[in-house]
Symmetry: C2
Subunit: 260 residues, 2 copies
């Protein structure tokens, strides 16, 4: 245990999981920590050589605020704490949860003095995009389809806005056991604005064992292959599919927009 | 020079510039290359220990297609080529340009057989967000304000869509010598939809020497401090500024949206 007052809290992005996509700063921050806090699945993604000698605090999914509170409590007591998150912790992940827990009206005063640092990472959309080509080469939008913490109406408004403004759209958390219908509802909106030839990228477990990346035209898309480990990228009207030299289709969004 | 047929082309993200934010895969890919192709400023960001023994092909900004063509030509001739780009090469950077050059109707047939791989990186918005807290913790949108390759009308439509859908908005290429007025025009739209208390993050040279990150309310924002090395993040209606333990203000977008 460290001396009271010397504690710190870093929220660290692990990237998709492949150690080749783990930033040196993330590695060093985890090395320097005494405590690793995170969703158990993400704790299990930490390279084994970084885990030795550290106390691990794994928890279930969907208890982000409790997890953030534990991390703040440890850091306020002088411990060195890394909260680990897959991808980039600032994108639909733990960084916002840690700030929320710190600023909560009922939070202990000692939590306020904890300095929170955030170590970025490669978020799922960038990873899937890289594997597929360059679908995010032009303006784009990232929306989580989870309505656990926001009303469906705002999700719908955002998907529609992305379509009307001809943005490429990356969808996180497209489906879960508790939310089987949102993805189909989002695609009803998408099909109102995009032709059947629109490229769609499905990236499942990108940067992890069993990675699957497919490029499909909207008209041929079977949504039943998507699960909570899939990120979905829907092209704009300018996004194109081209034959890749390796056999698989590639997709990119040109830098030039008609009318320029 | 390699044997004809064994060449490859990788478009590699350097991240913002700090070697602690350079992915191991990016480092190894650059190490394995014989040729480094890029905008001279980005070539200069490659860690010096990776440069030795490699042929460097630096070029001016705004000649992306010529640069992409050179890389394809070298790879088609059997060379091992890394095209380097700051940030993530798939986000407003070289990856799309390389696919465009390869697919151009006038491109030599040999270029079609070059397999293009993309190595992702930490894009500027994620880097600035990490430094400022967690402004991208909820749905967001990335738009480049450069109208070199797209009409201003589509930029306006996208900025307005982001505002109307209450998305956090990150603006790339906010201003340049050739485009001094776009940022002010974008903020005229933004001010129509967001209160003066809306948090704005300005990140200049994040992850590079002289890094500056500031958190300002929209009503107090002085746009004249922005230049082409600045990324601008405009909060949604739920984004908040809080006092950071280290003195600087922090900003985050809560995971919860009203009405859920």
């Amino acid at each position: 245990m460290s001396d009271h007052g010397s504690g710190w809290l870093a929220v660290v992005g692990l990237g998709p999981g492949d150690p080749r996509w783990l930033l040196p700063e993330a590695r060093r921050t985890i090395e320097a920590a005494d405590h690793l806090v995170g969703y158990q699945t993400y704790l299990d993604m930490v390279p084994v050589e970084l885990v030795a000698g550290k106390e691990r605090h794994g928890s279930d999914n969907r208890v982000e605020i409790e997890r953030a509170g534990l991390a703040l409590q440890l850091a306020a007591a002088g411990e060195r704490v890394a909260v680990v998150s897959s991808g980039d912790p600032g994108v639909f992940a733990m960084a916002a949860a840690v700030f929320e827990a710190q600023q909560d009206a009922g939070a202990p005063e000692a939590w306020r003095s904890v300095d929170i640092t955030v170590v970025p990472g490669v978020t799922a959309a960038l990873a899937a995009a890289a594997r597929a080509g360059a679908p995010l080469g032009h303006d784009f939008c990232l929306v989580s389809l989870s309505d656990n913490l926001k009303p469906w109406s705002i999700i719908e408004r955002r998907v529609r806005a992305a379509m009307e403004a001809d943005l490429v759209l990356a969808l996180y958390n497209p489906v879960s056991r508790h939310r089987p219908t949102q993805l189909a509802a989002a695609f009803d909106l998408i099909r109102d604005h995009r032709s059947p030839a629109t490229p769609v990228v499905l990236g499942r477990d990108v940067g992890r064992p069993g990675e699957q990346v497919s490029v499909i035209e909207l008209g041929a898309l079977d949504l039943s292959v998507c699960d909570m480990r899939t990120v979905v990228i829907v092209g704009s009207t300018t996004t194109v599919i081209v034959p890749g030299a390796g056999g698989a289709s590639r997709v990119y969004t040109p830098r030039t927009y008609p009318g320029s």
